[in-house]
């Protein structure tokens, strides 16, 4: 192992923060990946409760059904890396003030579910917090076709993107592909924070 590189990364991540909008398949898995990597602070935003149907792909457990996702995910992360500072916001993001919880983080991860909310959220972050890097995902549904996923960069917007995927309304959401996209988002967040790995 490159000890010097590891120390440099550890220090930089410890003083960095990521905000996550939506704690479903994308958000819960991205949060756990970043916690394991050693991120200093996470701002977790969701208004939902854990349901049995979530367990097919989201980072929750059977005994957490009925709990607020923000509380359940905080519990799970604390069991993995108690050093992460976790701020939880148990509320729905409303059009017009969606950027509010994310003013103070280094990178925003969009991990919402409906296409419409995703588009609205991205637009609000890009216009109200123009200097804030935002990582978003589109096209997570289905299985296979890992190679169709690519990163598309538009200024401060980093899209984890499969334009040929179907909408989840007409398709299935399955753990492997959702987790690939979630970790892709977390990996992009690391790259933004640490700079390109050369």
């Amino acid at each position: 192992m490159n000890v010097e590189k590891a120390e440099r990364i550890k220090k930089k991540l410890k003083e960095s923060s990521v905000g996550i909008a939506g704690l479903g398949g994308l958000g819960s898995n991205a949060a756990v990946a970043l916690a394991r990597a050693g991120i200093g602070r996470l701002v977790l935003v969701d208004f939902d409760k854990v349901e049995e149907s979530n367990l097919t792909r989201q980072y929750y457990f059977i005994d957490q059904i009925g709990k607020n996702k923000v509380d359940a995910l905080k519990e799970n992360i604390e069991k993995i890396n108690p050093k992460v500072k976790i701020e939880i916001i148990n509320q729905k993001l409303l059009k017009g003030s969606m950027e509010e919880p994310f003013k103070d983080v280094d990178v925003v991860i969009e991990s919402l579910d409906s296409a419409e909310t995703k588009a609205t959220f991205i637009e609000e972050i890009l216009t109200k917090l123009p200097d804030k890097p935002i990582v978003a995902a589109s096209g997570v549904a289905g299985y296979g076709h890992s190679d169709r996923i690519a990163t598309k960069r538009l200024g401060k917007l980093y899209m984890c993107y499969d334009e040929d995927a179907h909408s989840s309304d007409d398709d299935v959401l399955m753990a492997p592909r959702v987790a690939i996209m979630a970790n892709w988002e977390a990996n992009l967040a690391l790259e933004i924070i640490l700079g390109e790995d050369k």
Partner: protein
Amino acid sequence: MSIEVNGKKVDWVENETVTQLLKRMRYIFPLVVVKIDDKVVLKKDFSEVVVPDNSKVAVIHMISGG
């Protein structure tokens, strides 16, 4: 007299709005992020903003799932 849309070179049409361009390109997805020369165009302005000659337009559509 041309513009670039998602990397594709297409003719520039005078006074064409974002809404008209999306229609011409057959981008029928209702939900998109549009940037012209790296500036975000708000959805509410799609029918008013005119696409300038030589501009680079990026259209990204959102697909549900998260």
